[in-house]
């Protein structure tokens, strides 16, 4: 049973009708097949219309869609030989961030990213993609290892934010994030980030201080969640829609603000409708970008990264 978002209701109803008709088509041959075809075209048109002009708040819903492909889905298709590596060597293993070594188009790469989980038990295990300090410290360990062995780093960002909790604070959440950013910036190897769903604030930038940063078409990337922003600036979470708009958190906005390097298009109706196609598009962009970074005879990836971030916010 697919999950529909509120604004997708008319499409959902139509698709339900199509499914019903298709079940009947066994008895009634041609006339129903025509009708089905007509409705399918109509549904497609509605989908195109709806997704052609999603608001920032609607994109937020799409970015958080429970059936949206998550890190593990990407790994299955793009990095099937991933050797997952666990633990921060200080305190524990945080499954909100997953990482490991894999082959990607005949190159050894380090993969790091947030995993939200896909059902109740895996969501609990991955803490909904909200990392504790251990998660960022593991990321840092893996980045430093990649740096030592000259492996390029690919990070896939998908987190509501760093976990707000007593243990997280006790073990130095702020320091863990700061050090993770510092490590990203110090790397001598290239690092590429893709925001595949939610780029939630400090928890996202901890893995995304990269040479190249991309976003999927319906992903969001923001300093604060629309709900959080609304409850502070509008004093009510009822204004999340307005806050989402004001925050300029869509891929289009970020490209325009020159914070990201490109947008990866999603299939019609969002990544959750065609996960495999979405994942392949991300894979193509990663391959292309890696090739570019290596052939542009960029010898100093660290300097490239610094310059890139120093230029952000200039020239408006």
């Amino acid at each position: 049973m697919p999950i529909f978002l509120d604004f997708e209701k008319p499409i959902a109803e139509l698709e339900e009708k199509i499914a019903e008709l298709q079940q009947l088509s066994g008895n009634n041959g041609v006339s129903i097949a025509d009708e089905v075809r007509k409705l399918q075209l109509k549904a497609e048109k509605m989908l195109k219309q709806t997704y052609g002009k999603l608001t920032a708040w609607q994109k937020t819903q799409v970015a958080r869609h429970p059936e949206r492909p998550h890190l593990k889905d990407y790994c299955k298709i793009l990095f099937p030989d991933l050797l997952p590596l666990a633990g921060d060597r200080y305190f524990g293993e945080d499954q909100a961030i997953i990482g490991g070594i894999a082959t990607f188009h005949e190159r050894s790469v380090m993969i790091i990213g947030h995993e939200k989980g896909s059902d109740t038990s895996s969501r609990m295990r991955h803490n909904f993609g909200m990392a504790l300090p251990e998660g960022y410290r593991k990321a840092r360990r893996l980045m430093e290892m990649a740096d030592r062995f000259g492996l390029p780093i690919i990070t896939l960002v998908d987190t509501p934010g760093a976990y707000p909790g007593v243990e997280a604070e006790a073990r130095g959440q702020a320091e863990a994030i700061a050090k993770s950013i510092e490590t990203c910036l110090r790397l001598r190897v290239p690092i590429i980030s893709v925001v595949i769903g939610e780029g939630g604030s400090g928890g996202a930038i901890a893995l995304a201080s990269a040479n190249k940063v991309f976003m999927l078409e319906n992903a969001i990337y923001s300093v604060i969640s629309p709900e959080g922003c609304a409850s502070i600036l509008w004093r009510s979470a009822n204004y999340s829609k307005e806050a989402a708009e004001a925050l300029k958190l869509t891929a289009d906005d970020l490209l325009q603000l020159r914070v990201i390097d490109g947008i990866i298009p999603e299939p019609l109706g969002g990544a959750h409708r065609q996960p495999e196609q979405t994942i392949q598009s991300v894979g193509q962009m990663l391959q292309k970008t890696l090739d570019e970074l290596y052939t542009k005879s960029l010898s100093n990836y660290q300097e490239h990264r610094q310059k890139k971030f120093l230029a952000i916010g200039h020239g408006f």
Partner: protein
């Protein structure tokens, strides 16, 4: 016991206006003693009875930190103030202008240079009364300018945050100040210069999770709230009361995140001492 313990509390409400400011009394939020405002002032806004540290402005801090209260303010580059054309119930551009007019300051960061114990030092200090010391483009640029000034003068850099975190009204560009502020720190460290941090009340959110936690030596003022997530957000998430002293400077020290909790009166001495060990260049000024 302090001399104030046996003091007869005056029957004056602190809200009531008295003729001269010197006659005002302040109630200590911690021990509830009434403190003569002039005494509080001469004590750098530390409660004489319980040592509670009030929040203080950047001017007083700089004056008390630098040798003979002498320092030079750095003029900071001006940048696009409202790249998002942000508007909540009010336009951010208007809000910003109001703060600028009220404070006479351009934004929430002030950079100053001088000597402490004879050691050259650049200070990047937050003005909490300017939009809660929030970090946007101007603050990020200020931190970078401070780092450049330190490198140019071969001086140490001391960051003194007092900030609720990122400036939401600058959206993603405020988040981008986290890596940018880390680059500022890297500049100083790569030049072989000491980078010190004095955490003051409050240091939270994106400010805590970037340059503020990367000091070679990290000091904190007693009782300061320091942490990544806001206490209210945590309470709402875990639905229980937070432990006593949670996210206070002393709590951070206990948890290994802060080197020293330094009484306000001891800050210049402590900074001078650190610089005498870490800063090989001593000026003769």
């Amino acid at each position: 016991m302090s001399w104030l313990t046996n003091f007869v509390r005056p029957k004056i409400q602190s809200a009531k206006k008295i003729e001269t400011p010197d006659n005002l009394w302040d109630k200590c939020p911690s021990c509830k003693q009434m403190v003569f405002h002039r005494d509080l002032q001469s004590n750098l806004f530390v409660c004489p009875a319980c040592q509670y540290h009030w929040r203080i402005g950047f001017k007083l801090r700089l004056e008390k930190l630098f040798d003979q209260g002498q320092y030079q303010r750095k003029s900071l580059p001006k940048f696009e103030a409202d790249p998002l054309k942000f508007r909540d119930q009010k336009k951010y551009a208007d809000r910003l202008k109001e703060y600028q007019t009220k404070s006479g300051e351009n934004d929430a960061l002030v950079v100053a240079e001088g000597t402490v114990g004879g050691h050259r030092l650049v200070v990047a200090i937050f003005n909490f009364s300017f939009m809660g010391g929030s970090m946007g483009i101007a603050v990020g640029e200020g931190l970078l300018a401070a780092a450049d000034a330190a490198v140019a003068s071969k001086a140490a850099l001391l960051a003194i945050p007092a900030s609720g975190g990122a400036r939401m009204q600058e959206g993603i560009l405020s988040l981008m100040q986290m890596p940018r502020s880390v680059i500022a720190v890297e500049k100083v460290k790569n030049a072989g210069l000491p980078y010190l941090v004095l955490l003051t009340d409050p240091t939270t959110g994106g400010v805590s999770a970037s340059f503020a936690m990367l000091g070679d030596i990290t000091m904190a003022e007693p009782g300061s709230i320091i942490g990544f997530a806001g206490a209210r957000v945590i309470e709402e998430t875990i639905r229980e009361k937070l432990p006593e002293g949670f996210q206070r400077a002393e709590y951070l020290q206990e948890h290994g995140m802060v080197d020293l909790v330094v009484h306000r009166h001891e800050i210049p001495k402590t900074v001078a001492k650190i610089l005498s060990h870490l800063n090989p260049v001593r000026t003769t000024e």
